[in-house]
Structure formats: structure tokens, C-alpha cells
């Protein structure tokens, strides 16, 4: 620094000159920018002063959101499943009230306030901010509303509001598919903020919480409109300056037939379980049953703790969406898919057959994997193996294929992954593999686990939805359509329906003769000699089906399963899959009756009633009595 050559000094001068030039340019930019700001101030504060002065000083502008009407939910025939109607509610803004208890007591002298109302109010108040108005009473009638209106001056901070309420006129019918709306909570707010929808929910109190109400929230809600209102010093609206009308939410047109739904639900009686019916050719879901159900209307105004406790603590778990979230071993309903795997991999092509001694043994082991029929079925080929549900046949098949090939093949039918139905919360089920077992349990895979996987036991878990979807894919010769409950979205103003197009999600390449063989086996199931002969009796159309039983508790090697000795909730689950007419499939069904025992006798009749109505328009012959599980095992049919 101390010694500089001449050129460096010149350089230095040069640099300093250029630096100051640049600094000068920057200073000019600063001046221009500040000039722009000054100009903007002049514009706002001088030119437009009167305008803003009017807005701010004498009157204040208030923006009032106008909540759009929520879209309706209609079944395929136009039957209303969810609609809105106006009701009077009595609402309290806690922040404006000194003694809440006292005020509520005073209100109670005018209009009835039950203890249930109080409890619900207390719960809602804890969940909301003190400056938000919270309903104390809903569904006030005209007299009550008038009575309060006269005395309103005595209750600052309490007001009557008239607003749209969601109502589910069918009550418990299909509540798991329709879902319900509820008051917007903190978690909902966060989600709205994240998706940038918060401003569209100004003024909205409710949001879809489950089922279609949740999945199609964006469509159903509509776009919030708003009014610019001039407000005088007392806060009353003086006049509307401008307004943008809200756009009502779209209507949902379902592929579900509510009549079919109701027949299916009634067919369950008091029993727990699930049923899904699908149109195999386009993926339309025709019925979606989860038993027992609940009344979604309870949730709309915020459910009170008593009802909530009853629903939540019930052993029957009515709030669980069984078709989507109930996981069961598929049992013998797995066999048609396993049979197809055996055929496609060339392991069980005709004229292959086995001679069934009634059990299967692994080479070098004395453990007997028993068939359900002691003594065995004699000579069994693939078609007969399905018809009579021969366990021995499928034990060997699974061993010949190996677990990876077997599970890899059936996964194309939708097992082990979500079907993609338009409801949130679906569970993917489980197709086991040695890698999965190692990851999950840090244990190696045993050959015996492959053996029992062949008959749908072991680790394999499916949802009723997957079972129905797999049946539909089979009926559709390997073409998997995306299942959906909504067939069209109707714009409210124009009435134009935007149909939801069928989507192919997977295509399993199958040899037609293999599919044919499996289908023949499934048709034999409902013929005399098959495991569900009674289901097919007197049917004017051909039914292809498969029964199944899923163990709830393990049975020891030499113990005999006896329904009568076992606690009802530990009895086997009854499973049944079917499609019909077998020669031209229009409906595919999967039924699970929890602790129902045998698939053919407990679950089969439900499927038959559903198919009878759908294909023939036939109502169930006798009103289905809410029968419990049959006390004695059915003798005339084989026990799967």
C-alpha cells in the first residue's frame, strides 16, 4: 500500500473515477425512484383524496362474503342424498358477553335450550375463537325465532342467523360413501391456507370431513362472492357499492343406485360387514355398503359428546369405512386369481389334475396342510378345484409358482395397492413377500407360508373394495377400470353435466382360454355340487362366484373348528365374490360378513339379492328379518 508504481496510481485514479460515475448513476436512480414515490403520494393523497376520504372517514367499507350454496349429491336416478335448507340458528359471540352462563339461562327462558345443546355449545366454543359466533341452538322454528327477535335488545352479542344447513335426507343410508361436513377446525384452516383456498372460505363455517363430501370439497363448495358494503358508525350496512355473485358448488351425480344400496344394507340386517358392487365394464360403483352405518346429520352442527361416545366406543365400530379401511384375509375368494396365475405360468394347464388325499405335505416334512374336507376330493383339475374350493390343489399350486410369482401376478387385479376410489383414506392391503417379511419382522420366509398363501390365508390382507375390484377385473377379462362413485359433475347454473370418463388403470394380458376355464369354475360354484349351490338356485341368469372363509383365530393342528363353541366375535368371516350374468357381466360384487361363518350361506344371499334387484328389478321376496348368525352350521352345503 505504501509504495505504488505510477501506473497503479493512474489506475487508482481511473478506477475511482469510474466508481464515482457508477455511484452517480445510482444516485440518479435513487432520485427517480423517490420521485415516483412522491408522485404516488401526490396521486393518492391529493388527486384521489376525496375518494379515499369518503371511504375511510365518513363511511367505512366492509367486505361481506356471500357464501355459495353447496352442491347437491344425487344418486344415479336423481334421488337426493345431500341437500341444503334454510334454518334459523341462535348464535352467540362469546367475546361480547360478560356472563355466558347467565346469558344462556336467560335465553333458556325464551327458547328451549336442552342439556345436549349446552354440551355441544361448550365443545364448539373450546374449538373456536372467542370473537367467532358459535351456534347455541339450531333449527329454531318460526315461533321461537319471533320470540327471540322481540327480546333481542336484551341480548347484545346474541343473534339469530338464517343460514343454509346441510341435510342428509336418507339418514343412515350410505353414510360412509356420502360422508358428512362439519365445522372448519384449525387443521382444516391450515390445509386451506396451504392450498391457497383460505379467501374462498371467508364466511364458510363448514367443510367436507369424510366420504364424497370431503373428496369433492373443491367442486361442492363453489366460489364465494362478496359485497362491498358501506357501513355507518353503528356498523349497519347502508348501501351496497358493488357485488360479485357467488358461484354455487357443483352437484355430484353418483353411479350409486340408492335403492340398490338400501336393499344391500337391509340384507345385512344386524350383521357387520361390507359390500361393494361395481359395473365391470366402466368402473362405476353401484353400491358401497359398510355396516353398521351412522347418521351423518349428527355431525353437521358438531356432534355432542354422548352421541360421539356411543359411536366411537361401540364394539361394532360404525365409523370405520369397512370397504376401504377394513382389511381381511381373502380366504378362498383368492383361489380364482391363484388358479389364473397357475394357468398363465403354465403350471396348471389342462389336462393337469391331482389326486387329493385330503392334505398336502411339503417334501421332507410330516406336517399336514389339511383340506377342509377330510379324506379329500379325489381327482381334481383346475375347474373343479374352484367349484369345490379344493385346498390341496392350491397348496401345491402356490408351491410350484413360488410366492413372488403368485403375488406379482395377482397384484395386477388390484390387490396390495389402493384401487383409487374417489374417497380419501383408502388402505392398500398387503401382498406378502420374503422381502416384506424381512423388513417387517426381520425373519426369513418359510415354505409353509407360501403353501397357505395359495388359499388366501397367511399374511395376505385385502379390503372389500379390492375384492370387488379384482372380481370386476376378472369379469372384464383382465381390463381394470378405475372404480368411481361419482359418474358426473353438474354445473349448477347451466345444468350441464360433465361426465367422468372411464379410465383403464391396468390391463392384464391373459389367454382367453385360461380366463374361460376359471370363469367356468366360478360358474360351477353356484351349480349343484358347487360350494354356493343355494345362491344360484332358481336364478334366471348365470352367476359366477367364489365363496370364502377367513379365520379370525388360529386353529391348532388337531383341533376341529366348531362354530358353536366359539365366541361370536371370534367366528370366521364369511366372504363371497360374484359377477353376473356370467356370460355378459353387468355387475361384480364382493361381500364380507364379519364373523358370519361360511361365505356361501352368510354372504352369498346378500349378493344374490343385490344382483336380483340390479339385473331383474326384483325386490327381495321377504322383508329381511334382522337375523343373527344361523345357530347351526349349514349341513347341505360343503363347508368351504
Amino acid at each position: 500500500m505504501l509504495v505504488r508504481s505510477r501506473s497503479e496510481v493512474r489506475n487508482y485514479r481511473h478506477e475511482q473515477y469510474y466508481f464515482r460515475l457508477r455511484l452517480g448513476v445510482a444516485a440518479v436512480v435513487v432520485l427517480i425512484c423517490f420521485g415516483i414515490l412522491a408522485g404516488r403520494f401526490f396521486y393518492l393523497q391529493m388527486v384521489k383524496y376525496d375518494y379515499f376520504q369518503t371511504l375511510a372517514e365518513n363511511n367505512r367499507i366492509s367486505l361481506v362474503p356471500i357464501v355459495p350454496n353447496r352442491g347437491l349429491i344425487l344418486d344415479r336416478n336423481g334421488v337426493v342424498l345431500a341437500h341444503n335448507f334454510f334454518v334459523y340458528t341462535l348464535e352467540i359471540t362469546p367475546a361480547k358477553i360478560k356472563d355466558l352462563e347467565q346469558t344462556i339461562n336467560e335465553i333458556g327462558k325464551l327458547v328451549e335450550v336442552s342439556s345436549l345443546d349446552r354440551k355441544r355449545f361448550k365443545k364448539l366454543r373450546e374449538q373456536s375463537h372467542s370473537f367467532e359466533s358459535v351456534p347455541l341452538r339450531t333449527h329454531l322454528n318460526e315461533v321461537e325465532a319471533a320470540k327471540f327477535a322481540v327480546n333481542r335488545y336484551r341480548f347484545p352479542g346474541v343473534e339469530i342467523k338464517s343460514r343454509l344447513f346441510r341435510h342428509y335426507p336418507q339418514g343412515k343410508l350410505g353414510s360412509h360413501l356420502v360422508g358428512y361436513i362439519g365445522r372448519i377446525n384449525d387443521a382444516d384452516l391450515k390445509a386451506l391456507e396451504k392450498s391457497d383456498d383460505l379467501s374462498n372460505y371467508k364466511g364458510s363455517d363448514h367443510i367436507g370431513k369424510s366420504g364424497l363430501e370431503q373428496y369433492y370439497e373443491r367442486s361442492l363448495h363453489g366460489t364465494t362472492g362478496f359485497q362491498q358494503v358501506e357501513i355507518d358508525a353503528d356498523g349497519h350496512a347502508v348501501r351496497v357499492l358493488s357485488s360479485t355473485a357467488p358461484v354455487p358448488g357443483d352437484n355430484l351425480i353418483l353411479s350409486v343406485d340408492s335403492k340398490l344400496q338400501s336393499i344391500a344394507e337391509q340384507a345385512f340386517g344386524e350383521r357387520r360387514g361390507a359390500m361393494v358392487a361395481i359395473n365391470p365394464s366402466n368402473g362405476e360403483v353401484l353400491a358401497f355398503v359398510s355396516q353398521p352405518t351412522f347418521d351423518p346429520n349428527l355431525f353437521v352442527d358438531g356432534i355432542d359428546s354422548e352421541n360421539w361416545k356411543a359411536l366411537n366406543d361401540s364394539l361394532d365400530k360404525p365409523l370405520i369405512n369397512r370397504p376401504l379401511r377394513g382389511i381381511y384375509p381373502p380366504g378362498s375368494t383368492f383361489k380364482p386369481f391363484a388358479a389364473l396365475a397357475g394357468l398363465e405360468y403354465g403350471k396348471r394347464e389342462p389336462p393337469f389334475s391331482i389326486s387329493d388325499p385330503g392334505f398336502y405335505m411339503l417334501p421332507g416334512s410330516s406336517h399336514r396342510y389339511r383340506d377342509w374336507k377330510p379324506g379329500g376330493h379325489g381327482q381334481v383339475d383346475v375347474r373343479r378345484a374352484i367349484a369345490i374350493s379344493c385346498d390341496t390343489f392350491f397348496y401345491g399350486l402356490a408351491m410350484d409358482l413360488g410366492i413372488e410369482k403368485l403375488m406379482g401376478f395377482v397384484s395386477h387385479f388390484g390387490f396390495g395397492k389402493k384401487t383409487g376410489l374417489d374417497i380419501q383414506g383408502e388402505i392398500g392391503g398387503l401382498l406378502p413377500s420374503p422381502q416384506w417379511k424381512w423388513k417387517r419382522w426381520k425373519q426369513k420366509w418359510y415354505p409353509g407360508e407360501t403353501v397357505i398363501s395359495g388359499i388366501g390365508q397367511g399374511y395376505t390382507l385385502v379390503t372389500p373394495m379390492q375384492l370387488a375390484q379384482a372380481t370386476a377385473v376378472l369379469a372384464n377379462n383382465g381390463v381394470a377400470m378405475r372404480p368411481h362413485l361419482v359418474s358426473g359433475v353438474q354445473e349448477n347454473s347451466s345444468g350441464v353435466i360433465k361426465p367422468i370418463a372411464p379410465v383403464i388403470v391396468d390391463k392384464v394380458i391373459l389367454k382367453p382360454e385360461h380366463v374361460e376355464l376359471v370363469k367356468l369354475g366360478m360358474m360351477d360354484v353356484t351349480q349343484p355340487g358347487g360350494t354356493a349351490a343355494s345362491v344360484g338356485a332358481n336364478s334366471p341368469y348365470l352367476i359366477a362366484a367364489k365363496t370364502g372363509t377367513a379365520q379370525v383365530v388360529g386353529i391348532k393342528q388337531n383341533e376341529k373348528y366348531n362354530e358353536r363353541n366359539i365366541d361370536e366375535r371370534h367366528r370366521d368371516h364369511a366372504l363371497f365374490i360374484a359377477y353376473a350374468p356370467a356370460d355378459d357381466p353387468k355387475i361384480a360384487v364382493a361381500v364380507i360378513v364379519e364373523n358370519g361363518g361360511h361365505g356361501g350361506s352368510a354372504a352369498g344371499p346378500i349378493a344374490r339379492k343385490v344382483m336380483d334387484y340390479y339385473l331383474l328389478g326384483k325386490m327381495p321376496a321377504e322383508p329381511v328379518a334382522p337375523t343373527a348368525v344361523p345357530a347351526a352350521p349349514v349341513e347341505e352345503e360343503p363347508h368351504d
Partner: protein
Amino acid sequence: MISMLMKRLVRHIDSFLMGCLFFTLLVGLFVLYSASGQSLERIGAQLTNIVVAFSFMWLTANIPPQHLERMALPLFVLGVILLLGVALFGEISHGARRWLHLGIVRIQPSELMKIAVPMMLAWYFARRESSLRLADYAVGAVLLAIPVGFIMKQPDLGTSLMIAASGFYVLFLAGLSWRILIGGAVFAGALAPIMWSLLHDYQRRRIEILFDPYQDPLGAGYHTIQASIALGSGGAAGKGWLHGTQAQLDFLPERTTDFIFAVFGEEFGLLGNLLLLLLFSLIIARGLIIAAQAQNTFCRLLAGSITLTFFTYVFVNIGMVSGILPVVGVPLPLISYGGTSLVTLLVGFGILMSIQTHKKLVTT
């Protein structure tokens, strides 16, 4: 004796700059008192902030620029490491990851970077001054992009833009060729329509609302509309201190922080606004003069960048409050409530003072 001590104390304080800062901060306290609903508690807290910030400024002003120059690289590296720490272990608050817990203290590394980035770049260009080539600007741009990228990811758009600006000013003052500057601007201009066509509908809408708040008066546009009403209704002379209806009746959001200028403009009117602008101009002018008189490249570039960044804060904040710039979260320096950013700001002014007052000690 006492006067000797006093002299020593203020030896490195630039009196003109100090006067302007002091006066602006005083104005800020008055506005804050009004904006906070006459909360003495807030005033007390802000006074504490001011005392702390002035202490830091004094300390910085007493560090000779040569020492600052030596600290540039370590400080920058430390900052990048801390930013990395934030990205990995940072604490999330209000949806952004900005804070880092280091045992007992909680720090915000992006604040450190506001100082470290211009220092680093000034240091780099000062080292390369005799043989500056195009590649050096590319290196500078990369050095700048690292912290800016991290902070944008936090996400803190406002701060990352400001740091990007501070770095850009160093490049500009170091003599980045006009051809590149203009070429870059033209390129960006040409790219914009293509980018626009690639955006999703909802992304476009967000940008549209950014520029036209009236499209979404209940959501993103609410701040801007209410701020315009506040400013406009202030008129020529304002509604008077503590008498702004927009501010006092809760219409203005964030009125002690990012939107405090709306409170000021409503209560003090056009006259007040212009005076405040003048005050800011004096500070900026003084900063530019210090930069122009600085004796080496490092000092020049650093002083210039700090001053122009300060200007950018002022312009972007007032611009967004008065509705000519989109809303990005940038406080109004010296006026908005807040401790951390005030400390950083005054440390910057401390550097200016150091550069100015240590001048005669450097022999050339």
C-alpha cells in the same frame, strides 16, 4: 477529562449520519406508539432494541476497515454453514424455517448474511481489482447465489431479494459492463412471456393478484387496499397523530411492522411523507458521499452497497404499502418494529462510519 473521554467515545461516530438516524428513529417511535394502540410496553421494547442496536453500531464503527476486510471471508463461510444448519435443523415458526438454536441462543443466520454478503463480494473484487475479468463477475454471481438460494428456500422471499440486491450493487459498482447489464435485462424481458405460458393457472392468478390486489379483495389484496385507503384519506396534512381511523380501528393489518408506513402516511399526510422521504434521502446521500470518498476498493464497494441496499429497503417497503410494488415481506428501516433487523441495519451504518472516520489513519 470527561470531555476527553467523550471525544474518544464519539471519535468514530459520523455526526451527520448519527443525527439523521437518531431523528428518524425518534419519528419511528412516535409512529409505533400510535400504531400499537398507544402501547408503552411496545415503546419500551423498541427503545431497548434501539439501545442494543446503537451499541453494536458503536462497536462496529470502532473496528478499522482493514480488520473488516480480513473478517469478510470467515464471516461469509460461517454464514453459509449456519444457513446450511438452518436448512437441516432449523426451527419452524410461522411456516418458515429461519431460526437456529445454538444451545442457549437462537439466531437468524439470514440477518448475518445481510452484512456478510456485501463484505464478501467487496473483499473478492478488491483482491481482483488489478486484473478484473468477466469470469470474476461469474464467480461473484455464484457467491451471491448460494446464500440467496438458501434464504429463498426458507422461505423468506423479502430477505433473499434484499441480499440479492446488496450483492448486485457490489457487482454493479465494481464495474460490471453495461452490455451485460442491458443484455441481462433484455433477456429477462424476453424470457418472461415464455415463463408465463409455462405456469399453471393458479400460479398465474397468484401473480396477477400480486400486481392487481383488487382481484382478490378478501385475500391477498386486502393489505394493499386497506393501506391505500389509509394513505389516500391522510390527504395533504394528515389526520393528526393518533387520529388515523384506518389504523386505530384495526383496518390495517401488520401495522407495527411491514405496513407501518400506512399509519404514518394516514396521520401525517403528504407533507409528512415528503419529509420522511427527505430524511431517508439525507441518509442515503451521506452514505453515497462516504462511498465516494472512501480510499480503497473494498471500502468503496462496501459503503456503496450498504447505502444502496438501505435505499432498496425504503423503496420496496413504501412502494408496496402505496400499491405500486407487489407485497413482499420487507420492513421499513428505522421505523418498523423489530430488534434483529434494526441491529443489522445499524451495524451496516457502523461500517459506513468506520470507513469514514478511519480514513485519515490509512496512509496512501
